[in-house]
Symmetry: C2
Subunit: 336 residues, 2 copies
C-alpha cells in the first residue's frame, strides 16, 4: 500500500506537523566568542564547568538544555512524552546519562552530526502520528571529548589539517508540541547512507557533501520545489570545504544554488578564530538551529527554512580497518 503521508521517494508531509514552542542552547567558551554568541542562552566560562571530566560536562550541558527547553515552554517535565537525543560519544553516553537524570521515556538515536535533524524528524513523526504531545529533541558535542575519541587528545597540541573542522562544544534542544503557535515542522526527508569513497577522517566535509546533496535533491524532487521556495537552506555542518563541494554537486545536478544556502559549521565561528574549515559535531547544528535560526524564525526574519543535518557514520575502528567514510543527511522543513 502507499503510505498516506509520504510524497515521492523519501519525504513525509505532516498533516499536523508539530509546533516548535521553545529552543534552548548552552555553548562552550569558544562558541561564545563567535558571531552567534548573542543567540545562545548560556555560555560556559570554561570547558569543564565544574565537572571532573569533559564527558560529564557534556552530559550536564545536554541535561540542562533538556530541562531549560521545557521550563521555557512553561510546561511540566511530567507532560513530556519522549526525549529523542544523540551525541558523538561511544554508546551515546552524553544522551543516556542526561536522559537518566530527566526520567522521561527515551529513544536514543545515532546519526553523528545529523542527530539534531534526525531527532526533529523522528520527533515530528511521533507527534504527527498521535503518539505523544510533547517531545524534547536534543543533541550535544564537546570539543575535547570528541577529539580524543575520534582523533587525538587536545592536550597533545597536534597540528590540524587546514580542511579539518573544529568540533563544537555545545548542546541544544527544541521542544516539539502538538499545540501552540509559531513555526511548525512541515516535512521531513530521512536520508540514505551515501559513500563516495572518502578515507581522510580529517575531511568530514568531503565525506558528507554527497549525502547532503542526495537528500536535498530528493527533498526538492519529492515536493516538486525549487530551492527559492525556502528563505534559508542550511546544512548541518559541512564547513567551508564541504559546502563548496555540496554546491558543485548540486549545480551538476541542475539545482539552482543561490544566496539562500548556508551551513551551520560556516556560521558558528569567525574566521579569526582559526578553526580552519569551520565547526562540526552534533552540538554545532544543535546550537545554530535551536539558537540562532530558531530566534530568527521567531523574529520573523525567516518564514521557510530547510534544515539538513549531516553525519559521518564511520568510527575510528572502521577507518583503521581500511573502510571509507559513509555519511547521511536528514532534512526537516520549518515554516511559519
Amino acid at each position: 500500500m502507499v503510505s498516506p503521508k509520504k510524497v515521492g521517494n523519501q519525504t513525509i508531509v505532516f498533516e499536523n506537523g508539530p509546533f516548535i514552542i521553545s529552543g534552548h542552547t548552552i555553548a562552550g567558551p569558544m562558541e561564545g566568542q563567535g558571531p552567534l554568541a548573542a543567540s545562545f542562552d548560556t555560555i560556559l566560562k570554561d570547558t569543564y564547568d565544574g565537572e571532573m571530566s569533559w564527558e560529564k560536562t557534556e552530559s550536564k550541558m545536554l541535561e540542562n538544555a533538556m530541562r531549560e527547553v521545557v521550563k521555557k515552554a512553561d510546561i511540566l517535565l511530567d507532560s513530556v512524552d519522549y526525549i529523542l537525543a544523540g551525541d558523538l560519544l561511544n554508546q551515546i553516553i552524553s544522551s543516556n546519562f542526561a536522559a537518566r537524570q530527566i526520567g522521561v521515556p527515551f529513544i536514543g538515536l545515532y546519526g553523528a552530526c545529523s542527530s539534531m535533524a534526525l531527532s526533529m524528524a523522528v520527533g515530528s513523526m511521533l507527534i504527527d502520528g498521535g503518539f505523544g504531545s510533547k517531545v524534547i529533541c536534543s543533541a550535544s558535542s564537546h570539543h575535547e571529548t570528541a577529539e580524543r575519541q575520534y582523533r587525538l587528545p587536545t592536550e597533545q597540541g597536534n597540528q590540524r589539517a587546514m580542511y579539518a573542522q573544529w568540533t563544537v562544544t555545545g548542546a541544544g534542544s527544541v521542544l516539539l508540541s502538538d499545540s501552540g503557535t509559531g513555526p511548525r515542522v512541515t516535512t521531513a526527508t530521512i536520508g540514505r547512507v551515501i559513500d563516495y569513497g572518502e578515507t581522510d577522517v580529517n575531511n568530514m566535509g568531503a565525506a558528507m557533501a554527497p549525502a547532503i546533496a542526495d537528500t536535498i535533491i530528493n527533498h526538492l524532487n519529492d515536493l516538486k520545489r525549487q530551492p527559492d521556495y525556502y528563505d534559508l537552506i542550511v546544512t548541518g555542518d559541512l564547513g567551508s570545504v564541504g559546502l563548496q563541494l555540496l554546491v558543485k554537486l548540486l549545480v551538476k545536478n541542475n539545482v539552482k544554488v543561490a544566496d539562500n544556502f548556508n551551513d551551520c559549521g560556516v556560521m558558528i565561528y569567525n574566521t579569526e578564530q582559526d578553526t580552519h574549515a569551520g565547526g562540526s559535531g552534533c552540538g554545532c547544528s544543535a546550537l545554530v538551529m535551536a539558537g540562532h535560526i530558531l530566534k530568527e524564525i521567531y523574529q520573523g526574519k525567516f518564514k521557510k527554512v530547510l534544515f539538513i543535518g549531516s553525519g559521518s557514520l564511520h568510527s575510528p575502528t572502521s577507518s583503521l580497518q581500511g573502510e571509507t567514510i559513509p555519511a547521511i543527511g536528514h532534512a526537516v522543513s520549518i515554516e511559519v
Copy 2:
C-alpha cells in the same frame, strides 16, 4: 493535549499496528549449537565467515539479515521505506555499513541490547502513523567485537565471572508491513532510563533488571492487564542472574509472576555450553525474537507475546570515570 494513541503513562496502543510479515536470522557457530539452532535461517561455520575482521563479519551478517527478510516477504527492496537498526559497536558501525549497502532511508538507533525491541517499537509507530508501509527492524552483535570493545580481547582467554553473560554472535531482522496477515504489533512501551547504582560491568543482568521491571510494571498498569494476559513475557537478555532479580522486583511490586516468563539470554544456550549466566548483546534478542519466538507465533503456539528488550547504557569510558550503569527496557506486544 492528550495524545490520541497513548494510554496511561508510557504505552502506545496501535490502531493499525503493523503485521510482522517475515523474520530472518543469522547465527554464529556457538549459537548454532544451542537449543534454538533449528529456528535460525543461517548458522555461520566460523566467527569470521570469510571476512578480514570480526567487525566486517558483524556488518555483513546484519546486511544479509536485512536483505533476506525482504526476499522472504517476496517484496522488492525498493518498496521498503526505512531501515531501523542498532548494534553495540562504537558509532553503531555495523548498522551504518549495512544500511550503506542496502541504500534504503536509515534511522540509526542506540539502545544497546534493547535495540531489537526499540527498532520494532519505533518502526511500528512509523507504520501506524502513516509514514511508511514497509520497515526493516534489525539488530546485531558479535561476541569478539563486543568483548574486545567493552571488556578484553577474547584472544587473552581471561577468566569470566560466573554471573557474566556471553555476548551473542548473531543478527536478526523482522519486516513490518501495513498490510498482510498474521501477527501484529499491538502496543509499545518506551522505557525510561533507570539506574540502581550497579557498577560491575560484568553484571549486566543486575544493572538491567530494575529498568525492565519498571517497563513491565508501567506496561501492565497502563493497559490494566495482568501478566496472564500474555502466553509469553520474554525479556531481552537479562540472563539467569538478571531474570532472578527481575522476578524479585516484580513480586515485590505485586506482579503475578508465573511460568509464562522467560528470557532470551536464558533460552539461547544450553547450560553445557558454559556461558555462565546466559547470552547478551543486541544479537541475542534479535535471534530469539526474529527466529524462535516468531516461528512459534507463526505456528500458533503463542498468540500473545510481550517482548521487552533490555539495554545497558554505559560505555567503558563512563565506567572508568566512576559512573554507575544506567539501563533501559523497551516493550512491544505481538498478538495474532
